[in-house]
């Protein structure tokens, strides 16, 4: 009786061990395949952009920079790139200033309808892009702004502001308001308090938000598609037009350039965010 039970138990544990390992092996395998699915297409684009072939083939027959040279040779691509960069730069400035001020007011003030204001500011994150695009399209037709870079800057700034507000709010929540009060008790003016206390502390949040605002505009396509007309062709818009025409490898080289810009911006924003989190953790530790 006891012997059969023991045998059964050891059998069960052996099966348990097997299934546990089988489970782990299958899990790792599935995870690996999903990982491959995620990364492979981007690697293919990167490799194809350095291809020497006229056609799409993988692996390519040889290495060359001809598609990058092709990109630089075509004024259309270069103009679109320059337009995208300075549009995104304007968006960054507008969104950062408006967003930082709003974040300070929302976090520090006890305003009525705070939830409603927050919902308004953050709503571009949920409202489908096509809805915003149609709305601003009608609006710009009314005021005759279609095809102007201003149209794109104005719309993108509204879409980019939430990122600044979110990042600056996070840094504001993290530091103690008593620092500001102490400065004012010691006789600092409001401006001095802002300039020497608040601003240095929220700076990582502003920079992270600004970087995200830049990419938001730099990569944005849907609004640009509707309001750029023929006068303000941004880089994503130009890529869209070319993709519809054919899948030439020049687009791959442009894609790689945009990937580099996005990754650099996101990466810096993420590192700043982590540094802020670490500093906040340290401060709360030292207080405790």
């Amino acid at each position: 009786m006891t012997r059969t039970l023991a045998k059964e138990m050891s059998g069960a544990s052996r099966i348990g061990w097997l299934t546990r390992n089988l489970g782990s092996v299958l899990l790792e395998l599935a995870a690996g395949l999903v990982m491959l699915f995620l990364v492979a297409p981007i690697l293919v684009i990167v490799v194809v952009s350095f291809s020497s072939a006229n056609y799409l083939s993988f692996p390519p027959p040889g290495f060359s920079l001809r598609w990058y040279a092709d990109y630089l040779d075509q004024p259309g691509w270069v103009h679109a790139t320059i337009l995208s960069i300075w549009t995104a730069a304007c968006v960054t400035i507008i969104a950062s200033i408006l967003g930082t001020a709003a974040a300070i007011g929302l976090v520090r003030g006890r305003l009525p309808a705070k939830r409603l204001l927050n919902a308004c500011i953050l709503s571009p994150l949920i409202v489908p892009g096509i809805v915003v695009a149609i709305g601003v399209y009608f609006f710009y037709v009314q005021i005759g702004l279609i095809g102007s870079p201003l149209a794109i800057i104005a719309a993108h700034s509204a879409l980019a502001a939430p990122f600044v507000v979110l990042n600056v709010s996070a840094t504001l929540y993290g530091f103690n308001q008593r620092l500001e009060q102490a400065a004012q008790n010691l006789g600092a003016t409001r401006w001095q308090t802002f300039r020497y206390i608040t601003l240095p502390i929220v700076k990582p949040g502003i920079v992270a938000g600004a970087l995200l605002a830049f990419v938001t505009s730099f990569d944005e396509l849907i609004v640009a598609l509707f309001v750029s007309g023929t006068g303000a062709v941004t880089l994503p818009r130009k890529m869209w037009d070319s993709i519809r025409f054919g899948l030439e490898p020049t687009i791959a080289s442009v894609s790689v350039l945009t990937i580099v810009v996005s990754v650099l911006a996101f990466l810096s924003a993420e590192l700043l965010r982590r540094r802020t989190l670490r500093m906040m953790a340290r401060e709360s530790q030292s207080e405790a």
């Binding site: 408006l98 709305g135 945009t258």
Partner: protein, 302 residues
């Protein structure tokens, strides 16, 4: 000891009321300053975002002769539009479920991996997440196109004579939609799975639970908020998706967002406005239902 305020209130020296009034005025001025900081962004959004979207909503009710429900009637009476709507919802649902099925094992493996491996895997998830949707769609067009890489491989391997029509099919749309939205599912899942207290798992193991039991009775229930957050984000994004289906779908695979753009091209502005309003309301409705059920703020607080 009596609190100081009560003492002053009790004795009520001359000028106490004025002092209180002054104090209140200072507080009000303080709040007014904060309000003035928020105002520029709110005014900006009112002009360049809220007014345009709101007037688009109004436009759905305005015809040539004033108020009308003509466009809504047209929407209700035309079965084609209903098919587009149901196609879009089905596509969004299927995309969400496929993303969940693919993301869960990866997120779970990441949460169990050593910190170095988890960091590498995390970076590899972020790479596509940070790449623009247009570029990611283009990548799949390069893979699936008639003269694309899969067809190149298959014909060089001698498996096919004629290139397969992979692009401009529902298949292409599904693959690319899942591809583009997958990171939005992985990230919330991973953040929830990683935050599960390992001592719970050890306790379950110590009490004799098998790996399967630990997963189904401990890990899975605790990961529910991540599942909910990921599904919400992916579903809402998929509903309004335009770029990927427009680039990769065939003539017949029309989504709601594509129909809106088509109507705009045909100068059917009011009808485009009706469709866009519908999409907006449906997206917001999904969001608020989730909010009531789960609490969005708790999800984003992580």
């Amino acid at each position: 000891m009596v609190p100081a305020t009560q003492v002053t209130a009790g004795i009520s020296p001359p000028g106490a009321q004025e002092r209180r009034r002054l104090y209140r005025r200072i507080l009000f001025a303080e709040q007014l300053r904060y309000a003035l900081l928020v105002a520029p962004l709110i005014i900006y959004l009112l002009i360049f975002y809220i007014y345009p979207v709101a007037s688009m909503l109004v436009r759905s009710f305005i015809g040539d002769g004033g108020f009308t429900l003509e466009y809504f009637e047209r929407l209700l009476e035309t079965p084609v539009y209903w098919r587009v709507f149901s196609n879009t919802v089905l596509l969004a649902l299927a995309t969400t479920l496929i993303c969940l099925a693919l993301a869960y094992p990866l997120a779970y493996a990441m949460s169990r991996a050593s910190s170095t491996r988890a960091a590498i895997m995390f970076a590899l998830v972020l790479l596509p997440f940070w790449t623009s949707i247009l570029v990611r769609s283009y990548a799949w067009m390069v893979l699936l196109g008639r003269s694309g890489i899969f067809n190149d491989w298959l014909s060089r391997a001698g498996l096919i004579k004629e290139p397969l029509n992979l692009l401009y099919t529902p298949f292409a749309v599904y693959v690319a939609m899942v591809y583009v939205l997958l990171p939005f599912m992985i990230l919330p899942l991973y953040s929830v799975l990683r935050s599960i207290d390992p001592s719970l798992l050890r306790a379950a193991e110590g009490l004799g639970a098998s790996a399967r039991q630990i997963f189904f009775h401990v890990v899975a229930p605790l990961s529910k908020p991540g599942v909910a957050a990921g599904c919400l984000v992916v579903f809402i994004l998929a509903l309004g998706f335009y770029i990927t289906p427009a680039l990769m779908g065939g003539q017949r695979d029309v989504t709601l967002a594509m129909l809106i753009a088509q109507q705009l091209d045909m100068y059917e502005w009011n009808f485009a406005a009706v469709l866009a309003s519908m999409l907006l309301f449906f997206s917001l409705a999904v969001f608020f239902i989730f909010d009531k059920m789960i609490g969005i703020e708790r999800m984003f607080a992580r």
